[in-house]
């Protein structure tokens, strides 16, 4: 009995691990976060990654140029597979964004202290992921320069958008999501921009942060409204984030295609979104905390919690897969039954089984403490889960489309170099934006961390009087 107790003690130690390393003061928190932004010049590692990501941005530019010049025939899609990489990538990117909102809004409402040090960059991740996501349906329009036809404005054709279509719902959901995420992120940044304004020595930086901070001075009356506004935004973002992936799932579920027309889709898509989003937060957090020495803020406790969220959401996703298969056979619809047989045994079977391995078996390893404490293992697994969630969307879209009701209309989808170019290009673009964010904006919410340090350390957190 005693030896068992001893064996369990590391677990208990982890459960009680701090959300911020002890001994921090307002000044150390302030400097650790602001110095990354205010330091002169660029770090070599940052410059190297920036260069690589810039190649990705160029690749994106070339892919978009080629697409606009020639039309979407340069992609591998066809009839019957009219949605392929573009919609896969759209759903994947928008799903990644969801973890940012979950961390910043839902965990705030649940008063989860550990969210404080990861919310800022998770929100940035959301914004950049939504920017990448929005690109795909826009380009898939074929004539993207007519995108404004999606909005209800009085026009010479005297027609209106078709509001009964889930694709229109998607336009409103995603644009609202993008706007609200941007506002939430900016509101969170205002006090930190003010502190950068006060501490910047470079005149241009002082001016830029000064303008962006709107003259914030930390007045108690302002903080009073600010906190109410922040809570309201969290309260508004919570149903919004759940609605966005629900609406994305409606793009599929409202149709009558075998494999898409399923009532399990909304909850299973939302869980999948959070699952992949947390994997991406982890993929980003691990290198960021290492290279910028932020291990005292993004602690083992954070990584451990993220692993647990991934196990939970991964199990919901597993339930979704199982229920889909069950309904496919139990429903007795021969087209549905065939669809699931085709997924598991048809031409896309390798991708299907790869997604099972990545999404269902991999997160189960997080039950073991070894996998929740080893940084290289967590990093590798977060990437595996990202790949798995991409495969999930690919399988849902392509296997349902490529063989539907009539055998004569069956087909296959093979991606072209431009499909890959655009996808890898958005990965580069995302990294590019994220690196710019790390360099020019505080990656951790300094004012919330100071508040946390006040709660944890009390008077010990005070700043010694400067000479």
């Amino acid at each position: 009995m005693e030896s068992k107790q001893l064996q369990r003690s590391p677990d208990l130690a982890l459960a009680g691990a701090p959300v911020v390393a002890p001994g921090h003061t307002y000044e150390t928190v302030n400097d650790a976060i602001n110095d990354i932004v205010l330091e002169k010049g660029f770090r070599a590692g940052w410059g190297f990654l920036f260069g690589i990501s810039f190649v990705g941005v160029m690749m994106l530019g070339a892919s978009v140029f080629w697409l606009l010049k020639n039309g979407i025939g340069v992609w591998g899609l066809n009839i019957p597979v009219g949605w392929a990489f573009d919609i896969t990538n759209f759903v994947w990117w928008i799903g990644i964004g969801h973890a940012g909102t979950l961390i910043s809004a839902i965990l705030l409402l649940f008063k989860q202290e550990w969210r404080t040090s990861i919310n800022r960059f998770a929100e940035a991740m959301t914004l950049f992921a939504v920017a990448c996501a929005g690109l795909f349906p826009l380009l898939h329009l074929g004539r993207p320069w007519n995108f404004f036809w999606l909005f209800p404005y009085p026009n010479t054709m005297a027609v209106w958008p078709q509001f009964r279509s889930p694709l229109m719902w998607d336009v409103f959901a995603v644009s609202t999501y993008g706007s609200v995420s941007l506002m939430f992120w900016y509101v969170g940044l205002i006090p930190d921009l003010a502190s950068l304004r006060d501490q910047a020595r470079n005149k241009l930086a002082k001016l830029a942060y000064g303008a962006l901070s709107l003259g914030w001075r930390g007045s108690a009356a302002h903080w009073n409204r600010y906190e109410v506004a922040y809570l309201l935004l969290a309260g508004l973002s919570t149903p919004l984030v759940l609605s966005v992936h629900t609406v994305v799932s409606f793009d599929f579920a409202v149709s009558q295609l075998p494999g898409w027309n399923a009532t399990i889709f909304p909850p299973y898509f939302v869980a999948g979104a959070i699952f992949s989003g947390f994997a991406m937060v982890m993929t980003l957090a691990i290198p960021v905390r290492k290279f910028y020495n932020l291990e005292g803020f993004i602690t083992a406790k954070h990584l451990d919690n993220m692993c647990k969220v991934m196990v939970a959401t991964g199990l919901i996703v597993a339930y979704g897969y199982a229920m889909e298969i069950f309904m496919g056979f139990y429903g007795g619809n021969p087209f549905e039954t065939y669809m699931f047989r085709n997924r598991a045994l048809g031409p896309y079977a390798p991708e299907y089984w790869a997604l099972w391995i990545c999404n269902i078996f991999t997160p189960q390893l997080f039950w073991l403490k070894k996998f929740r404490t080893s940084i290289p293992l967590m990093f590798a697994m977060s990437i595996v889960i990202n790949i798995g969630m991409w495969l999930e969307r690919f399988i849902i879209i392509v296997t349902s489309l490529h063989r539907d009701f009539l055998v004569s209309s069956w087909g296959m989808f093979e991606p072209t170099i431009w499909d890959w170019g655009l996808y890898i290009g958005t990965l580069g673009f995302f990294t590019f934006l994220f690196l710019l964010f790390l360099r020019f904006l505080p990656a951790i919410s300094a004012f919330e961390m100071k508040e946390l340090v006040w709660k944890k350390e009390g008077k010990r957190a005070s700043m010694p009087k400067s000479a």
Binding site: P166, W169, Q199, W216, S219, A220, A221, S243, S462
Partner: protein, 198 residues
């Protein structure tokens, strides 16, 4: 119209090391009868607005109105375009197929509420306001770092440069500075050791 001459002194700014001291000072100042005052801190301090006697904000009410306006806009837009102005038969659904309007009505509600929240918060706070007298005090740059300030404003009827400064010094303030109203480039703030210069 004759412009009222501006008081060259905006107020007195006391600096504190601990948030608890700031709350305590605010309570004492209120007890002493001061009403025109404000606290400044690098993060929101619970209990400070109560101590300063700041009233509850009207923001939630505004946001409710914004959300209501969004819901009406989203719903009426769809009803008018799809069932009145140009009704189309889509899959045999009725012209006013309310269930289909739910999603966009919801999204508009959220969008309008969020816009009202952010614009309302910024506007009620009187931002953007690049210039404010408290920025004249050099030590105030720490208000965004790790120091806490209480400003007694000169428009308060019981404000008195000398007596109020004495009062602030009795409240464990680490320094007390006079805040000039106008921008004075040479002004570096006043410590308790230096003389009043304004």
């Amino acid at each position: 119209m004759a412009k009222k001459t501006e008081n060259p002194v905006y107020g007195l700014l006391a600096e504190f090391e601990y948030p608890e001291d700031l709350i305590h000072a605010a309570e004492k100042a209120r007890e002493a009868g001061y009403r025109k005052m404000d606290g400044y801190s690098p993060f929101p301090i619970h209990g400070l607005s109560e101590a300063l006697g700041i009233r509850r904000t009207r923001l939630p009410l505004l946001v409710f109105c914004g959300g209501l306006a969004g819901a009406c806009f989203g719903f009426m837009m769809q009803v008018w375009t799809s069932s009145i102005d140009y009704p189309l038969n889509i899959g045999g659904r009725p012209a006013n197929s309310v269930a289909s309007w739910v999603v966009i009505t919801f999204e508009c509600t959220i969008l309008f509420s969020a816009l009202t929240t952010v614009i309302g918060m910024i506007a009620l706070n009187g931002l953007p306001q690049p210039y404010h007298p408290v920025f004249n005090v050099a030590a105030f740059s720490n208000a965004s770092k790790g120091r806490f300030f209480l400003c007694l404003e000169s428009k308060d009827p019981i404000f008195d440069e000398v007596k109020s400064a004495e009062f602030l010094r009795s409240l464990e303030a680490t320094s007390v500075a006079l805040v000039p109203t106008g921008y004075t480039p040479d002004f570096v703030g006043l410590d308790k050791d230096t003389q009043h210069a304004v």
